[in-house]
Symmetry: C2
């Protein structure tokens, strides 16, 4: 069992509380999305899981063993971060060999194959790569590491639309071939929504959502209609967003609609529509004042 | 007139040709999207426009004056790039004052207002900022510069969904208040599609598309149906992509449908749907081998 468990985790930086009493399990062989606003504590959470920093309170286990007490456990986790950990002057194929000394299951053939697919020359030095290709090199190392748990912190920084599509496809192929726990932390939410099985949304210091994507998407819906009708409809319902456009109004609700609710929507002449994961995320993590509708130009 | 004209521009780096005989006009007071794959030459083009590098052949003018001969012209352009040009140890409000020595119209009140909206503390040092807040600081400096031409190279790197929405909104408000030429170069295409009036798509070394977004979107459409029907339909039409799913097939066409075409689609029982800018971009710049459909998990 390769699950990670966080038990009552609090992390303070001096007087600043980054995470407060969080309990959370990342089950094995599941693809997770870890979402949150800038500063919500996503990177802190990932640094804790990978033992790079230590919790102020609480404890973390991997396969029921304390993560802090066994370096061997950490070899089962590969953590791809924004920062590069290898000497800049190393060539990519040298980094492959270097990584193999830490991750004995590192698959050199697979890594070279991915280089070809992504059109990355492994004889290049890391420091000569553009932002996009720097990301690609790090993605390849993570996938080829064959660790039991793969963690990606902002995996698509600087990638063009083709390379993003290719990465999603290769990640899924890798997962299907060798199922493992994968945690994706990214701000480009809509594109990965189809990949995710489970989503963890961090609010300020705490967990807002920890749920399967299927269940969350079943609960979320939007209602559009005349403002007075929509306002009447949302009474005593769990609505998380409200936008006005002239005399019309759109409400986002998080509340699986019952048969009766659907009947009511019909009777009131309201329109029901789907809500995407990114829109849902924005509403859930809105802390006031920064959300606007974008008017059309021209 | 603040238009930029590139006339027969070629740029070689040693034996490597980045741009080949490109002629292009960026009209004044228009919002442009400059799109292209990693390595297509977008940044080379922007560096040429801002006189940071020089063309191998051809010339560039701003308001009909050669851009290479007049430093004063360059003060009318603000170019936000991925790299930071100020000393890392400067505080943000110091960078504001420093920028004002180059851009005399820099609006300090506006800059401070934006800091508040984006929740950025101007007393922080640049080097202490996260990727997201580093981007935010640079966006604020660009907007407040009040230059006649604003160029953004990957303006949303590391921004969360809220901050991206806020940036798009503020950019548009800025444009409506003081119309100017704005060039946005980004890989996150779908989100900015509504903002753009005009799109320039670079292929390998050359310009693939230089067209208003409205006209391009009018030309682009998708046809879905039985493979044999779709294959018959696309004969002698300008199709740019074809995907198979079992016995069904989807074709992307770039060819404004005539009345007759619409009739034919109906008669053949085919389904016509819209194509988003990002999907269109992927098809147009596909160089073979890197595109796949993402299967659903579970």
């Amino acid at each position: 069992m390769n699950h990670i468990e966080l038990k009552n985790i609090t992390k303070n930086y001096k007087s600043n509380c980054a995470l407060k009493d969080i309990s959370l399990i990342f089950e094995e062989k599941r693809i997770y999305g870890l979402l949150g606003r800038n500063g919500a504590g996503k990177t802190t959470l990932l640094n804790l899981i990978t033992n790079r920093i230590f919790p102020t309170h609480g404890y973390i286990t991997l396969s029921n063993h304390p993560i802090s007490e066994n370096d061997a456990l950490l070899e089962r986790i590969y953590y791809m971060t924004e920062s590069t950990l290898y000497p800049d002057s190393m060539k990519i194929h040298e980094v492959f060999r270097w990584t193999k000394t830490f991750y004995s299951n590192f698959d050199l053939t697979y890594a070279n194959g991915l280089c070809e697919k992504f059109d990355l020359n492994p004889n290049k030095k890391f420091k000569t790569l553009s932002t996009g290709y720097n990301t690609i090199a790090k993605l390849i190392i993570a996938l080829a590491s064959n660790a039991d748990l793969l963690i990606f912190d902002e995996p698509i920084l600087g990638l063009d639309a083709h390379h993003r599509t290719l990465f999603y496809k290769e990640l899924l192929a890798h997962y299907i071939k060798t199922p493992k726990t994968i945690i994706l932390s990214t701000h480009i939410i809509e594109e990965i929504a189809d990949l995710l099985e489970w989503v963890v949304i961090l609010g300020k210091q705490s967990v807002l959502i920890n749920e399967s994507v299927a269940s969350l998407m079943e609960r979320a819906y939007a209602i559009t209609g005349k403002s007075s009708d929509v306002e009447a409809f949302i009474q005593n319902r769990n609505f998380i967003g409200l936008e006005y456009l002239g005399t019309y109004c759109k409400a986002i609700l998080l509340d699986k609609p019952t048969e009766e609710t659907l009947k009511q929507i019909n009777q009131m002449g309201l329109e029901k529509s789907k809500v995407g994961l990114q829109e849902l995320f924005i509403k859930l993590t809105d802390v006031g004042g920064v959300l606007y509708e974008i008017p059309k130009v021209g």
